[in-house]
């Protein structure tokens, strides 16, 4: 079976996600249709209205209810999809735990935007990273094409019988969601064949087969149920890799746990996530022209966290620079915490630096990354482990 290329369209990240949901043949689409909703829903409703997608759109009064409807619909065995952003995602917070605890394989697209206050409609990954402990799988797209691909992959991963977890597919606001790119849209029949049909075997709302969903277990079984979820997350790593390979074989692209770029011999490894990787790759090339052996690791999956892949890529390096477009205030960037904990037990691990940058859409160019990598590799004694880049008055 050869690679089948689809039609090329000019799409924004939002529309790419909507096409992804259409290709996955989602059946129930609940959404709160006002800010902070995005054009994802606008496009999906258009598809439904035109009859191009046979799904039920359920307009609700809040994101909290949107997630509730998605949970209920998924529990009946329907494939559900919803999308939100920043404050809307925060409003879904408690229901994300319900979805993951009930092991419902729904997919949620998240357009990363700065959490108010103050308001920014530009990217900051803190909104979805604040939900990292919700038990949902998290993917971060680097461009519109990947956003579409990840939606399709997400359903395959989520619905795998060894996983059965909700998936968040995150894309940065404006930088991905609103920029128009060339996106290859797979053929509907091919996509349908790839995603397959969903049949719920574990949770199903059916009056003919009464089932108690959401039980009280207290100290007797809470740990065991959480351990089940941990096991599911562990097996998700294997499943994500398997699905990425299958997707690559079928469509010529595939997105596993991480994307590594020139890390084989890298002494300096840049670790980042999302759209920043684009300029970071250019920076790596320029640094190599200057004789600095740089490489890049981009996290595609943040949950489950690809610890082994990070160790594999960074073991030989003597410096790791984490670029965080997010911040856990009072501590450091969130990716930095994860990378540090992955590498901390290595006998001769690299020195790890964190740079918090690009918050709320602050523009970061290739030369910015080049400059700060050079500064950090200079091993200036007074340099801090965690620093902020491009803050007026701070440097």
């Amino acid at each position: 079976m050869g690679v089948k290329h689809g039609d090329k369209k000019m799409l924004t990240g939002n529309y790419a996600v909507a096409y992804g949901a259409r290709l996955a043949q989602v059946e129930v689409v609940p959404a709160y249709p006002i800010t902070p909703q995005t054009q994802i829903m606008e496009k999906l409703v258009e598809f439904i209205e035109k009859g191009e997608l046979k799904a039920r759109f359920v307009p609700v009064e809040s994101e909290h209810s949107a997630m509730t409807v998605a949970i209920a619909a998924q529990a009946t065995g329907a494939r559900s999809f919803t999308a939100s952003s920043s404050q809307g995602l925060a409003y879904m917070h408690e229901n994300l735990f319900v979805a993951s605890g009930l092991r419902l394989p729904l997919v949620l697209a998240v357009v990363n935007r700065g959490l108010a206050m103050p308001i920014s409609i530009h990217p900051d990954q803190t909104d979805s990273l604040a939900e990292r402990d919700s038990g949902c799988i998290q993917f971060y797209a680097a461009d519109a094409q990947e956003a579409l691909d990840l939606i399709l992959q997400a359903y395959r991963v989520a619905e795998d019988q060894d996983v059965l977890l909700p998936v968040m597919v995150c894309l940065e606001g404006f930088l991905i969601s609103h920029f128009t790119e060339i996106v290859e849209v797979p053929d509907q029949a091919e996509a349908k064949d790839f995603v397959g049909d969903y049949t719920s075997r574990h949770v199903i709302l059916d009056p003919q087969r009464p089932m108690h969903i959401g039980i009280l277990v207290n100290e007797h079984y809470y740990t065991e149920y959480r351990f089940q979820q941990k096991q599911a997350m562990d097996s998700a790593k294997k499943v994500i890799k398997k699905v990425a390979e299958e997707y690559r074989a079928r469509f010529g692209r595939g997105h596993g746990l991480v994307e590594s770029y020139k890390t084989e011999d890298a002494q300096i490894v840049i670790v980042t996530m999302g759209a920043l990787s684009g300029v970071a790759k250019l920076a790596v090339d320029r640094l190599r022209e200057d004789g600095i052996k740089a490489g890049l690791v981009r996290l595609v999956a943040f949950r489950p966290f690809p610890k082994d892949e990070i160790i594999g890529c960074c073991r030989a390096a003597d410096t790791v620079v984490v670029l965080d477009r997010n911040v856990s205030l009072g501590s450091s960037g969130i990716i930095y915490l994860e990378v540090s904990s992955s590498l901390c037990n290595l006998s001769s691990g690299p020195r790890i630096y964190d740079v918090i940058l690009g918050l709320g859409g602050r523009d970061i160019g290739q030369e910015d990354i080049e400059e700060l990598v050079k500064k950090l590799t200079g091993r200036v004694p007074d340099v801090q482990d965690v620093s902020w880049a491009k803050v007026r008055g701070a440097m």
Binding site: R103, P210, H212, G214, E224, Q228
Partner: protein
């Protein structure tokens, strides 16, 4: 123990994580394991109320039910609902001062429903009820003295109970049909319909010596007119006079109510039942007032009734005038809020978290509560747009 099974895995066993079901669920539950009815403190009771129009109408016509049927263009059924309580739609359309319209809840919105339009249509449509046959009753001898609205009403309701009463013109009285000459044609037609039910109208004058020929006699003669009917030589059981203080045709509805009450009283007398208990079970509203439909529906005699409309639309069916009347009646019915009646929307069934509500298999606008599962949460009451559920505190000790 049973409750525990519904809440989660048995805590006394040490299942491993592999043995537990995926997704915090318990399957294979018998519905009986979760008899949540034991949780209940308050009991929802499905209680259709009577609309204010019905409560204010002395004849207790179920106007909301009639309107509901007109809305659906089920004209024959609408007519039946009306005629069960009132044999004089045409007369009421002309003479009644319509307390129902004064009480109408729609007044608060944009003005009351025109009940007159409904009455006029029902009269003009000319439907007829099939006479009631109740073997044995047709031979009972009942005399009604006075052929006004009260006398004719009592004769009509007795006929609806299967009797064949004889109506005498009063002692020197004109019949209502004669007195209200303007409506002569209308009333004559309605009297014809009453006769069709099996009432006999004698043109003979009533004399007291006839008393002994009858098991029951109702002297329905105007008291305010100062005329005293001939009671005959002896006073005995079975002779009924107008209820003390009964109106002398202050309102048509009140006259019909008096006739209806007397029909029930005579029926109770002939069946050897206490009058008070018989009327009370068919009372509607706080002010008293009998529903003949309720009276018939209760007890043993409902099954003996053929309450089907026969004949269909009369010759007037194609009449342009009738078409207009029908359109007007339906327009008014569309405005009716159907107070007190379940609309059958099913909202309560949809929202009941225990699945304890269902539609009655007999009547779709009646909700059955399964008290084994109803935990008394009150959601049905909140969801019901017509407030059909009344909550009553559960009696007895809480375990």
């Amino acid at each position: 123990m049973r409750k525990k099974a519904a809440l989660g895995p048995d805590p006394r066993k040490a299942f491993t994580y592999q043995e537990l079901p995926i997704g915090s669920t318990i399957t294979g539950l018998e519905r009986d394991l979760a008899r949540t009815g034991t949780w209940r403190f308050y009991r929802p009771v499905f209680a259709p109320g009577s609309a204010p129009c019905r409560q204010s109408c002395a004849a207790r016509v179920d106007i909301a039910a009639v309107m509901a049927k007109l809305k659906k263009k089920r004209f024959e059924e609408a007519c039946l609902d009306f005629m069960l309580e009132n044999p004089f739609p045409g007369t009421c359309a002309r003479l009644c001062n319509r307390p129902c319209e004064n009480a109408c809840n729609r007044e608060k919105v944009d003005g009351p429903i025109s009940v007159r339009a409904m009455e006029e249509f029902i009269f003009s449509a000319g439907f007829r009820l099939r006479p009631v046959v109740y073997p044995g009753r047709e031979r009972r001898k009942i005399a009604i003295v006075g052929a006004g609205i009260i006398g004719l009403s009592s004769a009509y309701f007795l006929a609806r109970l299967g009797y064949r009463p004889i109506v005498f013109r009063g002692d020197g009285l004109e019949s209502a049909s004669g007195r209200d000459r303007r409506y002569d044609g209308v009333m004559a037609e309605e009297i014809d319909a009453i006769v069709e039910q099996g009432v006999v109208i004698w043109q003979d004058r009533w004399t007291g010596n006839k008393t002994e020929e009858f098991e029951a006699v109702y002297l329905s003669v105007s008291q305010t007119a100062g005329r005293d009917p001939d009671r005959g030589a002896i006073s005995r059981e079975g002779i009924f006079e107008r209820t003390k203080g009964a109106p002398d045709c202050q309102g048509v509805d009140q006259a019909i109510e008096e006739g209806k009450r007397m029909a029930v009283t005579i029926d109770a007398h002939l069946r050897g039942k206490g009058n008070a208990s018989e009327t009370r079970r068919s009372d509607i509203g706080e002010k008293g007032g009998i529903s003949s439909d309720l009276y018939q529906a209760d007890g043993s005699n409902r099954g003996d009734f053929e309450v089907k409309v026969t004949g269909g639309v009369s010759q007037k069916a194609d009449d342009e005038e009738l078409q207009k009347l029908r359109q007007r009646a339906v327009e008014e019915a569309m405005r009716c809020l159907n107070c007190g009646a379940c609309t059958g929307c099913g909202q309560c069934i949809l929202y009941c978290p225990e699945g304890a509500l269902s539609r009655s298999s007999v009547a779709s606008r009646t909700i059955i509560v399964d008290y084994a599962f109803c935990k008394g949460c009150g959601i049905c009451r909140n969801e019901c747009p017509k407030s059909m559920f009344v909550f009553k505190k559960e009696e007895g000790e809480w375990e």
